[in-house]
Symmetry: C2
Subunit: 344 residues, 2 copies
């Protein structure tokens, strides 16, 4: 057994991996929701001066990455590697941003789990001694995602009540092997759990919460078991974008499978980002949802000392339009990353 | 500077990362080419008993992965993580295989550079102490890739002379932190170079070799500089799928940029896989090309002692049909991994 591997599917970092900079950028809907003031930048419209949704998404990715570098008081030359991905085919938002940022680049794809996946991989690279500074980032865009995964917006196709709206947002975290800014409360990544692909046979692409909830339950329960922790060790166990319906499923599943009560500590980024807004069905989804809520609201709360420890579990649906057309079910995955204030 | 980072964009592994098992699966064309006898399995037709090219590609991925596990004398329960990806939208070949293999999974996307990217990430995970056994795998399929990236085969669209044929193939490598099978000549991964995204403004999706050659040149030259090595330190410097035209460009570029002569040691998987066959234009491409040639022919040669050290540089074109339709150029990337016999 390797020295940092724990239990079934987890790793423990030997040294603190410091999250020294973070950026988050949102669109119009994000600016109307309850978390608006936690965004670094809110774009004035969905195109943000570009001539396509896809180019706009790339700008979201790039600007969030730049903010994280800037807040970490670094320049892009100081960053060893960029680890990131997005929802678009061939992850073009991440890849074209990597070109423009000019940082050696590892592209990844975990659908909406990508922020947690990039933090897990980035932390292993830093703690493994391979890099001093790794930038982790991801993005999504409502217009680009609807066109690619469902129907172009111009068709005006209605959504069923279990549907979710892809967030137009991006988030980035700058990881470091040292507490470069000297803040004792600097967030630190302590441990991670790599997800299994879990498939309960859901085939409805308008009910992604149901497809991803079993994966979230498995990762959370295995994380707690791998480290012998109780749920209340964390102030919040955060899921990415299960939405209101998927969140209920998660609570029920955890109770049924192992009698674990997650209801007191659970928080879902997707259910929160658009809370109180109209026509958002079960809430927000997309890589950018959990990425921006983590790097905005949640780490603002940690900085303020109101939360000290979170388990950040971003969930992804690993299907494609092609697999759906060929009658396949929607496999889900969830990666978990434990982030704690450095002084607790 | 972190202790295992080297130069501009490279990492050196502290301990040997053993490549204890490998698998490669090919299709009909691969079975007619000069490397046919190095494949573990050759499928009888492009569908291989499945009802779509996409499902067939998944079978290629899965079977290559199973072979690597089997040859490493392990079962899937012994594998800590699967790191892999493929060319299809949302990397469904890798993700659905991860579900069926039931191994915690990190999906990545580096287009045709994915085999080198997965070996680099997998080696960092093993050498970083996070896992004892990591499986790295990738695949591609001619029919599925043509349909997704160019035109469905049914249209019979002709290719220009600079075109390449996506390989119908998959390759997998099983990495270990110990020389489990006790073979002194077991291949060992010693160092890696993570690619920058390089864009020379090529916009012709039928000339990917030209789009990727600058990235290959940059990664190879920076690798040699980061480790103060001369090209002839390696018996072969292997590129993934530049094809015959892209290979010439690489040799010219390396000469022009730094006066480095790569012609004596350079080998391109894409130019070799279909060598001598008709209607293959500039050769093979696709993730599965370099993955299967590495895990078949090249490591067979290393096992036989005819080559001792290779630098495996898989190259990827990071565009998408959407980015191409929007008038974007094709950015390239190349990741390099140094593999040597354990007894040299």
């Amino acid at each position: 057994m390797s020295k940092k591997h724990r239990g079934a599917q987890s790793v423990a970092f030997e040294k603190p991996v410091y999250l020294i900079g973070r950026g988050c950028v949102g669109g119009v809907m994000e600016g109307k929701g309850p978390l608006a003031r936690h965004f670094d930048i809110l774009a004035s419209d969905a195109l943000w001066g570009e001539d396509s949704f896809e180019k706009a998404e790339r700008k979201f990715f790039f600007e969030a990455a730049k903010k994280a570098i800037e807040k970490g008081k670094k320049s892009s030359r100081d960053i060893d590697f960029l680890v990131g991905g997005d929802l678009l085919n061939q992850i073009i938002s991440a890849s074209f941003s990597a070109r423009d940022l000019d940082i050696p680049y590892l592209g990844l794809y975990g659908a909406c789990s990508s922020m947690a996946e990039s933090l897990a991989v980035g932390s292993m690279i830093v703690d493994g001694g391979f890099a001093s500074h790794v930038l982790c980032a991801t993005s999504s865009h409502f217009g680009a995602a609807e066109r690619q995964f469902r129907f172009p917006l111009e068709l005006g196709t209605p959504k069923p009540p279990t549907g979710q709206n892809t967030a137009t947002a991006a988030g980035a975290s700058l990881l470091s092997d040292a507490n470069d800014l000297g803040d004792p409360g600097c967030p630190v990544i302590r441990r991670a759990t790599i997800g299994n692909v879990v498939d309960f046979g859901v085939t409805d692409a308008n009910n992604m919460g149901a497809a991803m909830a079993p994966a979230a339950a498995e990762t959370i329960l295995n994380h707690l078991e791998d480290f012998s922790l109780e749920p209340d060790y964390y102030d919040k166990i955060v899921t990415g974008d299960l939405g209101t319906f998927g969140s209920e499923l998660l609570i029920d599943l955890a109770k049924q499978v192992s009698g674990t009560d997650l209801s007191k500590v659970h928080y879902d980024c997707g259910a929160s980002l658009y809370a109180g807004l109209k026509k958002v069905y079960c809430g927000a989804s997309g890589c950018g949802c959990s990425a921006s809520v983590l790097n905005g609201y949640l780490l603002d709360e940690m900085q303020a000392g109101r939360i000290r420890r979170i388990l950040f579990v971003a969930t992804g649906a690993l299907h494609s339009p092609t697999s759906a057309q060929q009658g396949e079910s929607i496999p889900g995955i969830a990666h978990g990353v434990a982030i704690e204030r450095g002084d607790v």
